[in-house]
Symmetry: C2
Subunit: 220 residues, 2 copies
């Protein structure tokens, strides 16, 4: 897979759809379904069968003609591609509204994203316990990130301080950052930064209600 993906350039949309397939396959696996066709996957995700097959074909051929894809096996393979076949050490910075929610978000753990450290700068929060993790002082950020071999950092601090925090996170050698603060962050070329913009979809709904209401909705 690794060589495949460096050969061709895989689009962001394809990766996002792999996430969808992975989640759906987990459901099908629970339902003890043995095989599934691109047609069925497509119907359940509101895509075309060709789209599903094309997405998968970038990474190999996982199906059996005349039969479809083996549910468990395909789930396992997509898990491999997405890096969900391993555990990730995650640190969370900022334990306000959103930070607290993320600590308790079961879906992350289930996928192998383990929050190992929590940081904050508020003395009232430092030392407090969140789901078994003691909140550390942001002052020790770099040292702690290194010592605990953190691989992914989640930013959930106010927009005003996010850039300073990220600068320190980058200094600590972190190469993957998920940002919940509503602000554009600058990172070096070799750091992966993704933004979770919680207002964006709400704004899309607002746009849709105001502009697109000629009768029917347009879903993703």
């Amino acid at each position: 897979m690794i060589s495949e993906s460096s050969k061709r350039r895989i689009s962001e949309s394809t990766i996002h759809r792999l996430s969808l397939y992975y989640r759906l396959l987990s459901v099908l696996e629970k339902e003890s379904k043995e095989t599934v066709s691109s047609k069925e996957l497509a119907e359940r995700e509101k895509l075309t069968p060709a789209q599903v097959r094309k997405d998968l074909s970038f990474f190999g051929s996982f199906g059996t003609r005349g039969l479809g894809y083996p549910v468990s096996e395909l789930k396992r393979r997509i898990g491999e591609i997405l890096g969900l076949d391993r555990q990730w050490s995650v640190a969370l910075i900022g334990v306000g509204n959103i930070g607290s929610a993320l600590v308790g978000y079961k879906e992350f753990q289930r996928q192998g994203f383990n929050i190992k450290l929590i940081f904050d700068n508020d003395q009232r929060k430092i030392g407090s316990n969140h789901k078994g993790i003691v909140v550390a002082d942001i002052k020790n950020l770099e040292k702690e990130l290194r010592e605990n071999k953190i691989e992914i950092v989640v930013i959930a601090v106010p927009a005003t301080v996010a850039q300073y925090i990220v600068d320190d996170v980058v200094k600590a050698g972190i190469k993957a950052i998920l940002n919940f603060a509503p602000v554009n962050l600058k990172v070096p070329e070799d750091v992966f930064l993704r933004n979770e913009n919680m207002s964006m979809e709400l704004e899309y709904l607002s746009f849709a209600l105001v502009n697109l209401f000629n009768g029917r909705g347009t879903n993703r």
Copy 2:
């Protein structure tokens, strides 16, 4: 604008970028910047100037040749397009981890999304106060949604019950739903449904770390 957008089909990406421009223009406005060029907007959002101009051109011509775009005016116009020039009545269903975070999320209010009602089915939560809003019993969902003229519903309940809730929400005549539950929901054609998949970006990071690490990161 309304007629423009029904003439041509505006892509989802364009709308998402309008959200980005809007946020950036708010910053520029605070910095008392009078005008801004497509070049500068593009640089700050890691886009091309042509992309910025094309996006805006779908909705009209807001700039002055030789000068650029007037910051406040453009912000106002994009606000209009996105429906952020008005207040929206929002109901939140499910006040667990994520629901609680959303109640306190300032960014929503700032954009005119006002959480007016909160529902839950847990007797321990019903009647409790969240930022001045008393949690209502999910049993009265339909009645309350109608009486309070709710326009947008945010779903933050466990995946297992989300579809049942959504069915009731649709029955209440709601046409716009934002779903945080990690599950594919079915709604009629005339209802706008958007999904906020919190794991997706984390999975993208995971994918990037495993597959794309030939030195440099690829940011959005």
